[in-house]
C-alpha cells in the first residue's frame, strides 16, 4: 500500500491574512520609521478618524500615516476616544448626549452582519421614518412598521468584556419559542453561534474566543423565533474581547 504524498505546505504568502498575522503587521506598522511630515490639525484628525471629513481630505491624511508613526498614533488615539465617547454617549443623560457620527458606521456594520448571518429578516421601514434609526439615546436599531417586538440589550455598545466570562444578554420576547445567537468578527467571519437557546442570555465558550487577539471587536445579533415561525431580529451590537 503506497503512502499518499504529503500535502504541500502552503506558501507563506498565500491565503487570507490570519488574525495573528494581522496583529503582527499592526505592531510592526506602529514601529515604522519616522519621516517628518507637516503636522495635521488635530481638529481635522478628529473629524477624519471619525468619518466626518470629506473623503478626499481623509485620503490625503491617510497617505501620511505610514510615513509618520506619531501621526498614526494621534489617529489611533482619535479612534480610541471616538469609540469611548460613543459608548459614554449611549449611557449619558439625554441633555448631554449628542449623536456620535460613528453611530451610523455601527448601523452599517450591523446591517452587513445581519445580512451575512443568513435567513434574517430585515424589516422595511415605512416612508414616515425613512432613516429608521433610533434617536441618540440608544444604539441604532432597525425599526419595523407595525407592532413587532423589539430586541434590545443593556450591554453598552463597544463594551469590553472578559473572554473568560463573556456573557451576552438581551431583552426577552414574550412567548418566543427559541433564540438564535450569532457572533462574528467585524469582517463577518463566524466566531460562534447557538441556534436553540431557551433563555435570553448566553456565556460564549472561552474556547471559541481563544485565538482572538486582545481588543478584537465582535459583532453579535439575535433572532427570536416565535412558535408560528415568525422572527424578530435585533440589530448587530459591538463588544470588545479583553
Amino acid at each position: 500500500m503506497t503512502t499518499p504524498p504529503p500535502e504541500p505546505k502552503p506558501k507563506p504568502d498565500e491565503g487570507p491574512v490570519s488574525p495573528a498575522e494581522l496583529a503582527w503587521l499592526r505592531a510592526a506598522f506602529a514601529e515604522s520609521p519616522v519621516e517628518r511630515a507637516t503636522p495635521v490639525d488635530p481638529e481635522q484628525l478628529w473629524a477624519a478618524a471619525r468619518g466626518e471629513l470629506d473623503p478626499d481630505q481623509t485620503a490625503a491624511i491617510v497617505d501620511q500615516l505610514h510615513r509618520d508613526p506619531a501621526l498614526a498614533e494621534d489617529w489611533r488615539l482619535a479612534v480610541e476616544l471616538g469609540r469611548s465617547s460613543a459608548a459614554a454617549t449611549v449611557n449619558a443623560a439625554p441633555e448631554v448626549a449628542a449623536p456620535a457620527a460613528n453611530d451610523r458606521r455601527y448601523w452599517v456594520a450591523g446591517l452587513l452582519a445581519a445580512a451575512a448571518a443568513a435567513a434574517i429578516a430585515i424589516w422595511v421601514v415605512d416612508g414616515k421614518d425613512p432613516a429608521g434609526i433610533d434617536p441618540v439615546d440608544g444604539p441604532p436599531v432597525l425599526r419595523a412598521n407595525g407592532n413587532e417586538a423589539q430586541l434590545t440589550t443593556e450591554l453598552a455598545d463597544g463594551v469590553t468584556l472578559p473572554r473568560a466570562a463573556l456573557d451576552l444578554r438581551w431583552s426577552p420576547i414574550p412567548d418566543a419559542a427559541r433564540y438564535e445567537l450569532r457572533v462574528t468578527t467585524e469582517a463577518l467571519d463566524p466566531v460562534y453561534q447557538a441556534l436553540d437557546l431557551a433563555q435570553p442570555e448566553l456565556r460564549i465558550p472561552s474556547e471559541a474566543l481563544a485565538t482572538l487577539p486582545e481588543g478584537t471587536v465582535l459583532l453579535w445579533s439575535v433572532i427570536a423565533v416565535m412558535p408560528d415561525g415568525r422572527q424578530h431580529s435585533s440589530a448587530a451590537w459591538r463588544i470588545v474581547v479583553d
Partner: protein, 190 residues
C-alpha cells in the same frame, strides 16, 4: 507639572452633578485611551495631559453656563476639545523628547540609541520593510491597508473614503495579501 489641579468649581461651589459625571467619564476614558495607544515613555506625562484636557473641557462648560457666544456644548464637542488638547500636549512632549535626545547625542562620545521613542522606531527593520512595501502598493490599496492596520473595520474604511463596502473589502484583503507577499520576499514573516 506644578500647578495642575482639579477644574475650579463654578460660582456656586462644586461642579453640577451632571458636569462632574461628564468630566469623570472623560477623565477615565482619556486615561485609558492614552495608556492603550501611546508608548510607555508617555506614562509619566499622562496625568498632566489629562488634567489640561479636563481644564479646557471645564472652561467650555463654564462658557456655556454664563451664556458665552460660540458652539453649543454638546457631548461630542466636549470630547473633541479633550482630544485636540491631548494631541497638542502630546506633540509638545514629543518635541521636548526629540530636543533632549539630539542634545545628548551631540555631547556624547558615542551616539546614544534608545533615548527617545523615535530611536526605537528607527531601529525596526520590519517597520522599514513595511513602509517600503506600502509605498509600492497602488494608492487605494495602500489607503485601505493602512486604515485596516490602524484598527478600522472594512465598513468604517468604506465610509471614510467614500467607497462601497464591497470595494473596500476587496481593497483591504487584496492589499493585505500584496503586503504580506512583499514582506515575505524581503525575508519578513510573523
Amino acid at each position: 507639572m506644578p500647578g495642575a489641579a482639579e477644574p475650579e468649581p463654578g460660582p456656586d461651589g462644586a461642579p453640577e452633578p451632571e458636569q462632574a459625571r461628564v468630566l469623570a467619564s472623560i477623565r477615565e476614558r482619556l486615561h485609558a485611551a492614552i495608556r492603550k495607544v501611546c508608548p510607555p515613555s508617555m506614562a509619566a506625562h499622562t496625568d498632566d495631559i489629562v488634567q489640561l484636557a479636563l481644564l479646557r473641557v471645564h472652561r467650555a462648560m463654564e462658557r456655556q453656563a454664563v451664556g458665552d457666544q460660540g458652539e453649543p456644548v454638546s457631548s461630542a464637542y466636549l470630547w473633541r476639545v479633550a482630544y485636540t488638547t491631548t494631541i497638542d500636549e502630546l506633540r509638545k512632549v514629543r518635541s521636548q523628547a526629540n530636543t533632549r535626545s539630539h542634545a545628548v547625542e551631540a555631547t556624547a562620545a558615542v551616539p546614544l540609541a534608545e533615548v527617545s521613542p523615535e530611536a526605537t522606531a528607527v531601529g525596526s527593520e520590519v517597520g522599514v520593510a513595511i513602509r517600503g512595501c506600502l509605498d509600492a502598493l497602488a494608492p487605494d490599496r495602500r489607503r485601505a491597508v493602512v486604515l485596516h492596520l490602524q484598527g478600522h473595520s472594512v465598513p468604517e474604511t468604506a465610509t471614510m473614503l467614500g467607497w462601497t463596502p464591497k470595494r473596500a473589502e476587496n481593497l483591504v484583503y487584496r492589499g493585505l495579501a500584496d503586503l504580506r507577499r512583499c514582506l515575505v520576499s524581503k525575508g519578513h514573516a510573523p
